[in-house]
């Protein structure tokens, strides 16, 4: 296997020069995003550099316990991201998001590794971390969409919910319409993504594998199976987090708590 051509550091810096174009444009047209560009480019560079170093050691040592700690860290970051995006202020939110992600990502990743891919050793960090990261990142987006949609639908349509409840619906029946809507919202991006995959741009993982020297046929197999894993994990995590959120905002009298 011949890996991708290494990029020499001086040339890497030259690559940054293309940033002069968007920055100049933003200055000329007074778009006022120069600061944002600088901050996010700096963040990306530093984050990836650090992750690169960490991954090098994680792959070299290849201990399952170390990989697991890294995973818990990644789930924590995803959790934090969801909280920031959805802006739902409920005490137990961080906890139930963590549980939802952990259950869905771990179970799907375990199945993928143990049953489908079967690397040696099974706990190979080079497989676990990139695949797990992709599943995690997409599940995170799914949860954000689901929670945001459910929360806003329910708070905007309290009257509708109470009309169901007052005619004898239990809280599951009363929230069913909002749950379905939120669940669909969580799945639609992945569904439409799958339908166009490969036609416009090659997906990131495939690109990486091809550059890394894999045969396109191998890369495609990985891409197909990871898309299916992403979709399954997104659906489980969205549904779990919706159930949790429902329980958190509906009280024992089936009333929407006044905390929201």
């Amino acid at each position: 296997m011949n890996g991708a051509t290494d990029i020499k550091l001086p040339f890497m810096l030259i690559g940054f020069l293309t940033l002069a174009i968007p920055i100049t444009l933003s200055l000329i047209y007074k778009i006022n995003i120069t600061r944002e560009i600088a901050v996010s480019v700096a963040r990306m560079t530093v984050q990836l550099a650090l992750v690169g170093i960490v991954l090098q050691y994680l792959f070299k040592w290849n201990y399952l316990w170390l990989t697991s700690i890294w995973f818990i860290f990644m789930i924590g970051v995803a959790d934090f991201n969801i909280l920031k995006k959805t802006k739902i202020k409920i005490k137990k939110m961080p906890f139930f998001i963590f549980i939802s992600i952990t259950i869905s990502v771990t179970s799907i990743l375990a199945f993928l590794i143990i049953v489908v891919i079967r690397p040696t050793p099974l706990y190979d960090a080079k497989h676990l971390i990139p695949l797990g990261g992709m599943i995690l990142g997409n599940s995170m987006n799914g949860i954000s969409l689901a929670l945001e949609r459910f929360y806003s639908a329910l708070t905007k349509n309290k009257k509708e919910y109470y009309s169901y409840i007052s005619m004898g619906a239990n809280s599951d029946e009363g929230t069913a319409r909002f749950c379905k809507e939120a669940y669909r919202a969580a799945l639609i991006p992945t569904i439409s993504n799958m339908a166009t995959l490969g036609l416009v741009s090659l997906p990131g993982m495939m690109t990486g594998q091809i550059l890394g020297g894999s045969e396109p046929t191998v890369a495609i197999k990985y891409q197909i199976i990871i898309m299916i894993a992403i979709f399954s994990s997104t659906s489980i995590s969205a549904l779990l987090s919706l159930k949790f959120l429902k329980r958190a905002i509906i009280d024992k009298n089936d009333l929407i708590t006044d905390k929201i």
Binding site: E160, Y164, M167, G168, A169, N170, E173, K252, N253, L255
Partner: protein, 221 residues
Amino acid sequence: MKFDDNVLFDMENIEVRIENKQVLAFDHISARSGETLAVVGPSGSGKSTFLKLFNSLVAPNKGIVRYKGVSYPWKNLSQLRSKIIPVDQEPFLGSGTVLDALYMPFNFNVHKDKKFDERATLESFKDYKIDNITFDRKIDTLSGGEKQRIAIIRAVLLQPEVLLLDEPTSALDGETIDIIIENILKKKPIETIISVSHSKEWTKNCSGVIEIRNGKIERLR
């Protein structure tokens, strides 16, 4: 408390606070089976909140609410709520057709043994003088008074033990008020009716009157 077999609802030492403001506070009030009660009082006096105590849409901060001697909170809320059905001032009927709106509650597990009776429904449409409305009409095309009547018909179709009506006549003209008085208060398709109303005509036709003033409650007759 004297024992009375006919007491359907009975509330004791109730206090309801909403956003830390006291909305209702009273010692005792009861309603017997078969009564048609009108709850009257100035607007903002807590009449709608009072009505919501009956089906647990408002949980009191203090006190006990009993239905047939069993105190809330009930274990099986949907069972309870299926027997005490409210019709709101501006009822929610969805954005589908008239049939969708009428059929909707029959999807709930608690009503699974009930059948939606199309012929009886069409009969009610005649009684309520809305037989020009077909089942496939869009809800959005109906007037406030028509929506009100469809919501009342839907509630009656579910055959609850109690009907809770919040301002059933506020959106209606005099003639339509008479139609509803005739079909609800006189024919009494549901045994017990508790209503909030500003209409003298309506109150006159009720068997009992409860007045709420400044958060206090008094039985007038």
